[in-house]
Amino acid sequence: MDESKKKELLLKLENSKKNYKNQLPNKILKIEQTWDLLINDPWDQDRFITFHRMVHTIAGSSGTFGLPAVGDVARQLEIIVKGQLELEEEPSVHIREKIHDELLNLSSITNKSIQTDTPPITVTNELEQQQLHHVNKDENNLIYFVEEDEELSLELATQISHYGYRVQTFNTLKQFFKAMKKDEPAIILMDVILSDGDGCEAVNEIQKDRATSIPTIFISEKSELTTRLNAAKAGGEEFFTKPLNVTDLVDKLDKFVQADDNEPFRILIVDDSVSMAQHFSLILQQTGMETAVVTDPLTVMEPLDNFRPDLILMDIYMPGCSGLELAKVIRQQEAFVSVPIVYLSGETDLKKQLAAMSLGGDDFLTKPIQPEHLVLSVTSRVKRSRILRNFMIRDGLTGLYNHTQTKEFLDMEIARAKRDNTQLAFAMVDMDKFKLVNDTYGHPTGDRVIKSLARLLKQRLRKSDIVGRYGGEEFAVILPNTNATTAEKILNEIRIAFGKISHKYKDILFNKTFSCGVAVYPGFADGTELNNAADNALYEAKEGGRNRVVFATETST
């Protein structure tokens, strides 16, 4: 599908989704009204058939419109209704109650699903507001910070907000409770002692009626055991003593917010039956995975290259070539040696299963397979293989991609830009006078500064952007689908934000800056050219006085 069409369709789909969501409460209401009529009037089988159809429609449609949870509940209800329908008699009190309960369930899940989609209204700091176009809006990055000391709270809030968080500060518990009623933060930062009460008790109060607690970090003047115990009892995940180390604090914040920040799992499904393939695909998609489907096994090579699956789910018996042969061919290519292959088949003969594995498969799932079982098997395997892969492709200190992998991504992204006829910006970022940090404050402090820039780059860029550590204090950034104007805006924003971050060594606070050289495809035609051009531009930025972003011009090479 070509890119513009895809965009057009996605746009229209978003609209249909919105319309569907708007109309859904009304539809649910009509279903409820129909049920009310059914149980209040003399029993009417035709009306019951209508009722069934209404529920069936919700079950079959809400998943398509991005509300799978509603679809699931509707399906539960439909199963009960259908069972009753086939009996062709008035339902018993017991069945009526069951239907009634499921209806309540349906209405509550509908409200919930629709609400989670409305954007929260929050106060953001000024810098953040300019940034929002480039910050992932789906992610809740709101922090409530309750601290009596106004100066400290403001200072810390500013520091934290440089990392892409939105921080709201409160100087009293009263203000905090009021805000909690309106909007919920992703994380609470709470001083243990406040003028109008005890921080631990306040958090206890908030958490006690909640199904899942909001991660809370306590802050205290003192590190006494009783205070720590109270904080732990209130469900405090972390405990910090003043003066606070911002880098460590942000490290913890990142952990809470980014727990699910991983890229979605990509699963390639190879099955000659369209309906089975679609069925598996939907089950996996509903848990947030991305899927690609191949129903003609001979066309498997292209999605392997473009989709880069984390795992391949493969039917064994297919026309043209068997899953076993296909696995062998896939395994012959170095790039796919480590991708797990899981066979799906009706085969229950252990000997045949083992033979299949010896040819390069990793596991066997026997059809028919329970959806939960499928999801669990796939999840555990992808997790493990990603951990192994991470060791191979990521930098140990920062968690960013290493040099080799970044270059590989650059080539892939250039190929994609070529295909889609889009622009791509490649930036090299190098910390200014970094050696000084290591020499003056020691390597542990230097490492923390490196990590803080790595984190800032990741926080401030889109998920589709690629950040790598090129070596030492040098980073590389790939911005797909980005022209020079946008790249300049983004990189300068990051440069300014980084300059404002205070780093800490004992009681000394200091700031660092970076220089940046950028080259844009198609001005430079391949990875090597982009790399060289960006490197030259970086050199120019350093020569020109550092702390700046310089673009390579096409004539300069």
């Binding site: 569907y20 079959g60 449609s61 398509t64 419109f65 489907v293 129903t295 003609d296």
Partner: protein, 127 residues
């Protein structure tokens, strides 16, 4: 290889689903599409529209998908017209049942709009 798929007679009673499916099939798949709201409408429209393929929802008021399909197959010139059913029921025995009726395949609901056209095309190519 079959001749390329072009004209699809599509029957679905639910307006929301119609909208998304029509988008998916016309915009992405670039098929010619005739949309019907019921199985009855589809039976009435078939002789004039002369579709390559029927794409029918199973459960519709007045006349369901399988019944409409069987009626269309009795019409002159339509004795072997292929059909794909769409349904929220994807139990293997249901799929087997529809395939026995002569369906190329069954596309389960809810479907993924981005993949629908490809799924239809895959079914067609497998004949």
């Amino acid at each position: 290889m079959n001749r390329p798929l072009d004209r699809i007679l599509y029957a679905e009673d639910e307006p929301d689903i119609q909208e998304v499916a029509v988008l998916a099939l016309e915009t992405v798949g670039e098929f010619n599409l005739k949309l019907c709201n019921t199985g009855k409408e589809a039976v009435a429209a078939a002789p004039e529209y002369k579709p390559d393929l029927l794409l029918f929802d199973v459960m519709m008021p007045e006349m369901d998908g399988p019944t409409a399909f069987q009626e269309i197959r009795t019409l002159p010139g339509m004795e072997s017209i292929p059909v794909i059913f769409m349904t929220a029921k994807v139990q293997p025995e249901e799929i087997a049942k529809y395939k026995e009726l002569g369906a190329l395949d069954v596309i389960p609901k809810p479907f993924d709009p981005m993949n629908l056209a490809q799924a239809v095309r895959d079914c067609w190519n497998k004949q």
